[in-house]
């Protein structure tokens, strides 16, 4: 347990030294600037426009910043033979993996809190709190996915591509399903097979399109049941990614 805490702490120190807080502040400043610009061109719903665009932008920033940080940090450590060094100490592979993950998850939670705060300018505190909690859980999932891919693939570009691909696909899969099941589609065998493929793909993806919704900031928070179900779904997927990551790391020859 102590080794997990020490590893998590080292990740937080690395994040601070690698300029992550400045990137977060820069993102907030950019979001506020974008909101200010849009408020000048909108002729109605200017407050809603500012809230919606800032929230969407900050959500994308949180995911992108965390994903690149996790991948570059993990790959750099692997290239520097840092994994071998740590594992030569009395630290198990599971403790190493979970320690790193805890550190990345804390970074994600801090980013979510930092990005939720400016939204209080335009949206009620309750809705912002739910949005922030949802973003924090979403970043936990992204951290777990980034760590899994970077440990498995060992290179920056393929790891970022795989994580971003998973994330973006999870965000659009329900729209793709709706398109595939559209009433104008011809009921041919090829089309049905494509539809089954999309449905099968949806089974192994998290419902990220339903998470951290901008609608909550504009039209009110979701019900407790709906929110709970959503968080449970994201939580289960995060646990699945952690299990897959540990499985892969345990059986690897170093």
């Amino acid at each position: 347990m102590r080794s997990i805490a020490a590893l998590a702490r080292s990740i937080l120190i690395e994040a601070r030294r690698s300029g992550l807080p400045w990137l977060a502040l820069g993102s907030v400043a950019l979001a506020l600037g974008l909101a200010g610009f849009l408020s000048q061109v909108a002729i109605t719903e200017s407050l809603q426009l500012q809230a919606a665009v800032s929230a969407a932008f900050l959500r994308a920033c949180a995911v992108f910043v965390l994903m690149t940080y996790v991948v570059t940090s993990t790959v750099r450590e692997a290239n520097d033979k840092g994994i071998e060094l740590v594992l030569s100490l009395p630290v198990s592979r599971a403790s190493y993996y979970l320690g790193k993950l805890c550190g990345f998850m804390l970074c994600g939670a801090a980013l979510a809190a930092c990005f939720a705060l400016p939204l209080l300018i335009w949206a009620p505190p309750g809705a912002v709190a739910l949005w922030g909690v949802s973003l924090a859980i979403e970043t936990l999932l992204v951290a777990a996915a980034s760590l899994f891919f970077s440990m498995a693939l060992g290179q920056v570009l393929p790891s970022i591509a795989a994580t971003a691909g998973l994330y973006l696909l999870a965000r659009v899969i329900s729209a793709v399903q709706a398109i595939a099941g559209g009433p104008l589609a011809e009921p041919t065998l090829t089309h049905r097979m494509a539809q089954w493929t999309v449905d099968a793909l949806a089974l192994v993806l998290p419902r990220l399109d339903a998470a951290t919704r901008t609608d909550w900031l504009l039209y009110g928070a979701p019900s407790a049941l709906e929110f709970g179900k959503l968080l449970a779904g994201l939580g289960i997927y995060t646990v699945l990614l952690i299990a897959a990551g540990l499985f892969d790391f345990k059986r690897r020859n170093l």
């Binding site: 109605t44 719903e45 919606a52 709706a178 919704r213």
Partner: protein, 246 residues
């Protein structure tokens, strides 16, 4: 210059020329004014609601509003409202339909339809916009009643089509079921038959909305106040013009 850099003289002459030429080409290309008229006429065909949802990666509320800003940019340039007439209204209304389908709770498309795109001196296009507002009102009467009320006013005072205005007023009265609809809107038929001018009618409607707190957005307040001022100016100028004719 840091210690890690070599002096500028280390850069060969041909590279200086290459950099200057490419910069000049970029500046020249960007300095040529874009063909404004073409941009106004070429509002591209609207995407389907599912396409917009797909492109937004699930951020439908933000995408709908950004799409409105995009559509708006085809006609609100330099505050000039003459190009409204040149817009392809079939495409424009398709865009508004898509945006409304992407975020049905947004009032932006109907606001723009009633307050911007219906404000042109082309009765055919105005009727198209009013038909759009009526259709969308029928989908959600309790949330979209104020746009049909505005459509009724436009039908009476701009198109001078009292039967159409009464049809909208009757629909408003018949289809709204919520307590939220004010009395003047519930009795829109009587309101339409009253002998009053456009300014008085607009003042009653906007005044009512402002007093009830229905208009809270600062940009919308500014826009509506500006519209009221323009209307008042037009009313003041009208008798003077008639006097000159005589």
């Amino acid at each position: 210059m840091s210690a890690r850099e070599r002096p500028l003289s280390a850069v060969p002459g041909w590279l200086w020329a290459f950099l200057a030429a490419s910069l000049a080409a970029q500046l020249t290309l960007q300095a040529v004014p874009s063909a404004h008229r073409n941009a106004v006429e070429n509002l591209p065909p609207a995407p389907g609601p599912l396409t917009l949802r797909l492109a937004s990666f699930g951020e439908t509320a933000a995408a709908a509003r950004l799409a409105m800003i995009y559509v708006q940019s085809f006609d609100l340039r330099a505050g000039n409202d003459i190009p409204f007439r040149r817009l392809n209204y079939t495409r424009l209304l398709a865009w508004l339909r898509t945006i409304l389908a992407t975020d049905p709770r947004s009032q932006y498309p109907l606001f723009a339809a009633a307050r911007v795109y219906a404000e042109i001196p082309d009765p055919v296009k105005v009727r198209e916009v009013l038909r759009f507002i009526h259709q969308e009102f029928l989908a959600e009467p309790n949330r979209r009643w104020q746009w049909l009320a505005q459509a009724a006013l436009i039908a009476k005072y701009r198109l001078h089509d009292l039967p159409l205005a009464l049809r909208y007023a009757t629909a408003l009265q018949r289809d709204t079921t919520t307590e939220n609809v004010p009395l003047w809107a519930k009795h829109m038929v009587v309101f339409m038959l009253e002998d009053m001018n456009e300014l008085q009618a607009a003042k009653i409607m906007l005044g009512g909305l402002l007093v009830r707190g229905d208009i809270r957005d600062p940009a919308e307040r500014r826009f509506l106040q500006n519209q009221l001022d323009k209307l008042e100016q037009r009313r003041q100028q009208a008798p003077a013009g008639e006097g000159q004719k005589r």
